[in-house]
Amino acid sequence: MRPTTVPYGERYNSRYMKPDPVYTRSALEAKNVRRLYKSSGRGISDVSLSVAPGEVYGLMGPNGSGKSTLLRVLSTAIAPDSGTFCVGGTDGLAEKREVRARMGLMVDRPTHYGDLTGMANAYFFARAYGMEEAKAEGVLSELFDYFDLTEYADDKVKTYSYGMSKKLALIEALAHGPEVLLLDEPSLGLDYTSQLAYQRRIRDLSDDGVAVLLASNQVDEVESLCDRAAFLHRGKLLAEGTPEELISSVEGVRRIVATLRNPVEYGPIAEVGGVQRIVPEGRDLVFHCDERPGIVADVVAGIVRTSGDIVNLSVERPNLEDVFVKLTGEALRDEV
């Protein structure tokens, strides 16, 4: 456990958050939340976190670490075994409907009424959140335009691609102007342009004081978008801080990314002294290594010994994935 104090000053992503009295209270606060599934014994235990208005808080962890469970609890979908949480000072256990009205929610598997149009789905949710007719029409029209869905607004959702469904789910989460946004893997499945549009929107909302809790394993996304991030591992919050603070804790780690033309046996390369982990990312192999003289040459030699044909090689600064590896000895994503 590496608890940190978080100063709301210079942001990691170069945006400057002005000191503001509003940051003295939390938009979302969870205390000692525990929820274990009886069938598997897994879940989350003693998770406490606080997200200030205007803050983007990233939640990272491998599959099964408890991210979605925590989001389910905070969205009032399931009750915790113990612990409490508040949204804008409202008790999330006692005042569920008020808390729901204050939140925008995007679940990891977006679902819609396939036989209704995209606009009908979004309009239904907007009105369910209490928006007035004219306002709902105006806001949805703007959001459909923003996310390039206007052309498909009157198509049935069952004809939408996965990415379009994700964008529709984002629209449904944003339309009613929530104080707190809970987003589970929001950018997964979005094309590059849509990812940029979504990130720009999140930044704008953050500037307007919306608190965002973002569960994601997209390291780049969390590093560029989040003011703070935390790791969940086996249901427990491991470490919390600004991305820069977290990354600074892994000095002495090198990240070697090799793009290979052909697949290779990883085993012999893992034997190279100083290699901690090997993680495949598409056509790339990412080596998490100790920083020592000659490590790059040794890794390259290891690849060559296994008949690997290197197309590209880069040595990168550590990122949040390396932090997780250092903290847990496990990979954030699929490991070799």
Binding site: A77, R97, V107, R109, T111, Y113, L116, Y123
Partner: protein
């Protein structure tokens, strides 16, 4: 009132009902295809009444039970439940709109029955209300079942287990003149009132009066609707 921009749960269901045109055609035609030949055939009144009763019971139970189970498995209903809408209101709207849409499906067939077997207006009203009460009851059963089911096949299994005894006690086929405890139980089942009203429409007199048919099923359905709405928090909770 715009259904292409639904602003309430029931309007969403109406929009969905009319959005699938081929399915809508089948839904509107199959009651006519089953009921009209029966009404025109000169079949004994008790069996003709039983056929209409069975169609109403099945349409109500499987309609609500299956569509709810599918929506719950998709996760869409759990997502709707995370809006500020009252879960009790959502379940009430599910019940009400499904019952009304089911009646809409049966109404053309019922009107043809009334044309083929003219009866005083009070009996037309009583029979129509009794069929509606049957649909409400069946939908209540379907919603209740959806609390425990994970697939449409489960709905069929659970519905069979619940409906068979109710159909028996209601006297659709056997048990036409129950006595003792069975008679008492029959008085609490709205299906029985529909059966009696339809028997009268087909020319078989029963001891049940139009007033009883108008009043008792209404009270029983109100109680059932209230009870089934109480299951809302469980019904709309996320499935593991």
């Amino acid at each position: 009132m715009r259904f292409d921009r639904p602003d309430a749960y029931w309007k969403k269901d109406v929009a969905l009902f009319f959005s699938r045109r081929f399915a809508l055609l089948l839904k509107m035609l199959y009651p006519v295809a089953i009921i009209v030949p029966v009404a025109a055939s000169g079949m004994p009144a008790k069996y003709a009444a039983a056929v209409i009763g069975i169609v109403a019971v099945m349409a109500g139970t499987f309609g609500a039970g299956e569509s709810l189970t599918i929506d719950l498995n998709d996760g869409i209903l759990a997502r709707v439940a995370l809006t500020p809408l009252s879960p009790y209101r959502i379940v009430f709207e599910v019940l009400a709109v499904n019952a009304v849409l089911d009646l809409l499906q049966l109404l053309p067939a019922l009107l043809i029955v009334y044309l083929l077997h003219p009866v005083p207006l009070i009996w037309v009203l009583a029979a129509t209300l009794a069929v509606f009460a049957t649909l409400v009851t069946a939908n209540c059963i379907g919603i209740f079942i959806a609390n425990f089911t994970s697939s449409p096949a489960d709905v069929l299994l659970y519905a069979t287990a619940i409906l068979f005894p109710l159909i028996y006690v209601s006297g659709f086929f056997r048990n036409q003149n129950p006595t003792g405890i069975l008679e008492t139980i029959r008085g609490f089942i709205p299906f029985a009132y529909a059966n009696d009203a339809l028997k009268t429409v087909f020319g078989l007199s029963t001891n049940t009066t139009p007033l009883e048919i108008l009043v008792y099923p209404t009270i029983i359905c109100a109680a059932l609707a209230f009870a089934v709405c109480l299951t809302a928090p469980r019904l709309l909770s996320q499935r593991p």
